[in-house]
């Protein structure tokens, strides 16, 4: 499934993460910036991929600027950005939460 619109969630404050989703056609592509990319880049991607999977999104461009966010923060920001991208802000997917 594709997303409906470009969306963004999160901030560039320390310990936060900013995620932007825009329409893509060839699967999920990542553009990740993080101070801890070497150690945690894969873990960050995995957390976001899991959220995308639970919404059955398989074609999307994901731009991520991580400022040292912990996993629960990444997950929460990812859920928000997906909901915005699907235009369903007020209907959280409870299975994910």
């Amino acid at each position: 499934m594709q997303i409906k619109q470009t969306a963004m969630a999160g901030t560039l404050e320390s310990s936060d993460i900013q995620i932007m989703l825009s329409q893509g056609e060839k699967g999920i592509t990542f553009d990740l910036t993080s101070d801890v990319k070497k150690q945690f880049g894969d873990a960050i991607k995995k957390t976001i991929q899991d959220v995308l999977a639970s919404y059955q999104i398989d074609d999307v461009m994901v731009k991520v600027v991580d400022k040292g966010a912990l996993t629960p923060v990444i997950k929460a920001r990812a859920i928000t950005v997906v909901q915005r991208a699907m235009d369903q802000k007020d209907q959280p997917n409870w299975e994910v939460l």
Binding site: G10, T11, L12, E13, S14, S15, D16, D35, V36, Q39, F40, G68, L70, P72, V73, A76, R77
Partner: protein
């Protein structure tokens, strides 16, 4: 000494609250950057891991640093200041300053590295036209922030969950206890700030109400010859004197600290003259001129070379300055009337007594009761200031007025109040005073209606009996002064 749990009084927050708060912060920062497009925006908050991010003690930590940081920036033109101290997600402050981004960031890094509480602070600087969102430490050639517990990169420790949250909390509790409780650390402030803090202390004491028997904005207490305006005038007349005392301490060389006292005594006499001049001859702050002047000089000396002294060191300097006060001012001039040193000295005693008639309450009380009064307090290093004054101020909750009233009452029982004794004519009044204070505390202190009502009724009783706790008021001023310098107020 027990470690204070600064999280005990706090309220836990959810992840959602923290994330919403970040969105809010970014909105505030964006707004400030748009509005002051050529200036630098500074955002200040604490790094507090865990679900409790605000409490009365956490706010104390925040304000201690916030005040110091703002004063470091005071040479730059500050255009806007906002503080949100009560946010569930932790106290935060913002200010806008008309200086280059890099210059401000360097000052902020200096603060984070050198101030005792600096590592608890997170200071972000930003400006509208900068290439990056916020200027990082690394861009200026500084190392990234290190972890509170180990010396590794803080972000990596946080990401890997290397340390237990309780270990991090213990660490912050320890920092709070070291800074505020065991032996308070006083930053090295400049002369202007110190003199202002001293003047503020005099004014803050004066406007606190209801103080039993003392002058406040609501009642003149048991004083017919002065009112609140006398105290405003008197307080303002002292600022120059405070500056002189500070300067004398900062520039003093040598280790005979009694000489430092001799240096400031002429300034003290001059300040007394100024006080009488503005109050038309009424004694409003004579005790304060003496004790606060010495405390300021001691702090000036203890903080020379820009060191941040501990309160106990300042108190040691006070006591060394006053080492000969009791000996020189009292013992040699006024023999205690009840004492006979030896048979042969009887004549000598009478002779001495005639030669020096006590001219102050302190001298009279030494002669009558062997009480050493404020001189004894100085020689003892003003101990109740730390053991009772600052302790109560730190632990007391509520408005500034409530905290100061609780502090005043706690001090009243821990000192020998020469004003009370002079007015009552007998040191036995101390026991009565202890009972009053116990009753006040039993009714819940100044934060309760019962305690406030009791204070008002005590004020009436003091007026009827013509009593006034001037000594406790002097100690309250000293406490406010140090409280201001450490950030408790």
């Amino acid at each position: 000494m027990e470690i204070v749990d600064i999280f005990a009084e706090g309220c836990p927050v959810q992840l959602e609250d923290v994330l919403k708060n970040r969105d809010w912060r970014v909105a505030v920062q964006d707004h400030l950057m748009q509005h002051f497009s050529t200036s630098t925006v500074v955002a200040v908050k604490l790094n507090v891991p865990g679900e409790v991010k605000n409490s009365p003690s956490i706010k104390q930590l925040f304000f201690a640093g916030w005040r110091l940081l703002l004063s470091k920036m005071s040479s730059m033109a500050v255009q806007k200041v906002t503080v949100e101290a009560d946010r569930l997600t932790g106290p935060e402050g913002f200010f806008v300053i008309n200086r280059e981004l890099e210059e401000v960031k360097k000052e902020a890094i200096r603060f984070e590295e050198h101030f005792f509480l600096g590592r608890l602070f997170d200071i972000d600087v930003m400006t509208l036209h900068a290439p990056a969102y916020q200027l990082s430490r690394q861009e200026l050639g500084f190392a990234p922030r290190t972890c509170l517990i180990c010396s590794e990169n803080a972000k990596e420790c946080a990401r890997s969950g290397k340390h237990d949250i309780s270990a991090l909390r213990d660490n912050i509790n320890q920092i709070y206890t070291d800074y505020f409780v065991i032996d308070p650390v006083i930053p090295a402030w400049d002369q202007e700030t110190v003199a202002k803090a001293a003047t503020f202390a005099c004014l803050a004491e004066a406007v606190t109400w209801p103080k039993p028997g003392l002058v406040d904005p609501v009642s003149n207490g048991a004083h017919q010859d002065m009112d609140i305006y006398s105290f405003l005038d008197s307080s303002l007349s002292l600022e120059n004197y405070f500056k002189k005392c500070f300067e004398a301490g900062r520039t003093f060389r040598g280790d005979q600290l009694t000489a430092l006292l001799s240096t400031i005594r002429p300034s003290g006499r001059f300040a007394e003259g100024r006080m009488f001049q503005v109050t038309d001859g009424v004694n409003t702050h004579k005790g304060t001129i003496f004790s606060l002047g010495i405390l300021i000089a001691a702090y000036g000396y203890a903080s020379r070379n820009e060191q941040s002294p501990s309160l106990s060191f300042v108190q040691t300097v006070v006591s060394r300055m006053g080492a000969q006060l009791v000996e020189n001012d009292l013992k040699e001039k006024f023999s205690p009337s009840g004492l006979t040193d030896s048979k042969g000295d009887a004549d000598k005693k009478v002779f001495k007594g005639n030669a020096n008639r006590p001219s102050t309450a302190g001298e009279q009380q030494y002669q009558d009761y062997q009480l050493t009064g404020v001189r004894g307090e100085i020689a003892g290093g003003l101990r109740p200031l730390s053991t009772v004054g600052l302790k109560t101020l730190r632990e007391s909750r509520g408005t500034t007025r409530v905290r100061l009233l609780n502090t005043l009452m706690a001090l009243a029982t821990s000192i020998t109040d020469s004003t009370m004794i002079k007015r009552y004519g007998d040191p036995k009044i101390s026991q009565q005073l202890n009972q009053w204070v116990q009753e006040f505390e039993a009714r819940g202190g100044a934060e309760s209606k019962g305690g406030q009502d009791y204070l008002a009724s005590l004020d009436q009783a003091f007026i009827e009996k013509n009593l006034s706790m001037g000594g406790a008021a002097d100690y309250l001023i000293l406490t406010i002064f140090i409280g201001r310098l450490t950030g408790l107020l």
